[in-house]
Subunit: 251 residues, 2 copies
């Protein structure tokens, strides 16, 4: 058993299990722990793995988990429910716009295995979709540190260069009277741009945001194809929206 062979087995093991410890590898390779350590040091030097105390992990695993602000925790159950509804709207091969909402972020784990193309301005979404079957396209521009997303002229221009089958959009507030409203103009701009360049634009909106107006009104409901919400919405409100001609779904 020479170094090349051990290297194969070590890298293969890491590929399968993400990590391995020195004892385990020594047994697997029928060699001593010191030899394993030496091998790991060599492979780490080439960046083929990352050493840990007692073993090694795949390089991808060691990259610092980016600490994204997790608004997702608020109303998470409802948001995850909405994600399930959104998932049914996605077809293999689609190109999809996803904005920087917390709901779209929660959708990411559910679409990693799909052969689709995602165009987004959200850093957390990009991060959640790295190394999977999804082709990612990020809109460039000035980065808003708070929202961890690209906004502004360049970002909007970027979106206008693409045509998507579907836009999945979060929104801060919706009301029948005033349509969509947001806490920030730049975010609203992005929502409008994505909706304008997608064949279908769907709003992901948990029931707590319905009939809430935020400070900046920016679009009528008629510009969107449908709203996906959760089961906490009252039947009366649901009926009211439908009566107004809005396609709103919670099942």
């Amino acid at each position: 058993m020479n170094f090349q062979m051990r290297k194969q087995i070590i890298l293969q093991t890491l590929e399968q299990k993400d990590s391995a410890d020195v004892k385990e590898l020594a047994g697997l390779l029928h060699t001593s722990e010191i030899t394993v350590r030496r091998d790991l040091a060599l492979l780490a030097e080439k960046g083929l793995l990352v050493r840990t105390h007692g073993g090694a992990v795949r390089p991808g695993l060691a990259k610092d988990p980016v600490s994204f602000i997790n608004k997702a925790a608020v109303n998470q159950a409802q948001k995850e429910y909405i994600c399930q509804l959104a998932l049914r709207e996605i077809n293999e091969g689609d190109t999809i716009f996803m904005d920087c909402g917390s709901t779209t972020f929660l959708l990411c784990p559910l679409i990693r295995h799909l052969s689709i193309r995602v165009v987004t301005n959200s850093l957390p979404v990009v991060n959640a979709l790295l190394d999977c079957d999804v082709t990612i396209n990020m809109a460039g521009g000035e980065i808003d540190s708070k929202r961890q997303a690209a906004h502004g002229l360049m970002a909007v221009e970027h979106i206008h260069r693409y045509k998507a089958d579907l836009a999945l959009l979060g929104v801060d507030g919706i009301s029948l009277a005033n349509g969509l409203s947001a806490n920030s103009e730049t975010e609203a701009e992005m929502t409008v741009a994505m909706a304008a360049n997608a064949r279908r634009a769907i709003l992901l909106c948990d029931s707590s945001k319905l009939e809430k107006d935020k400070y900046f009104r920016f679009a009528p409901l008629s510009q969107f194809d449908s709203i996906l919400t959760d089961q906490k919405i009252t039947p009366a409100l649901l009926a009211l929206y439908r009566q107004a001609g809005v396609n709103i779904y919670n099942v």
Copy 2:
């Protein structure tokens, strides 16, 4: 049993088992170990196999699976030294291009307190500069999962929309004879675009990459203002570069 016959058997054995040792082959070929070694040396010279201590492996097996993530760990001390040199080139108020190299990534912690604007195509750089005094602008486009960076037409176009005071660029290989070379065309494209749109373009290049040619040659040294490297460079090499008119610094 002549050399041609042995060659057949050796290559066939490697094809079947991926590797073989000298003892084993000597038995198989009914010959001495020294003869096997001589055969292996000849075959290795032609690239038909790769020698190891005690035997040989198939050429494919010895190749390192390319992994771009966490190259930062390789030669980290030298790279951090280069970052110190680069830091001196940056002035408050500057707009700076930074590409997706591991050296530029290591520079991030050192510039978080500066009031500058950074335009980059690298996700790790963006992440490392979130929530600090730096204004970040990310180039949009298709995301290369391996390199964790935006590349391609849109990304290059994005860069061309901006003008920077300084471009800090990593590079895979530099040689006096062939100039800059890279492992990937898309990365080279970005390097060229950034250099073209910056008042000063500086190469960050640890000494291990000097006089190394990678597979894609893409730019002459004359397009760059200077090279920053580390102290492991030999004085002879340093003199050689300076004699050729290259501004190269390691202090």
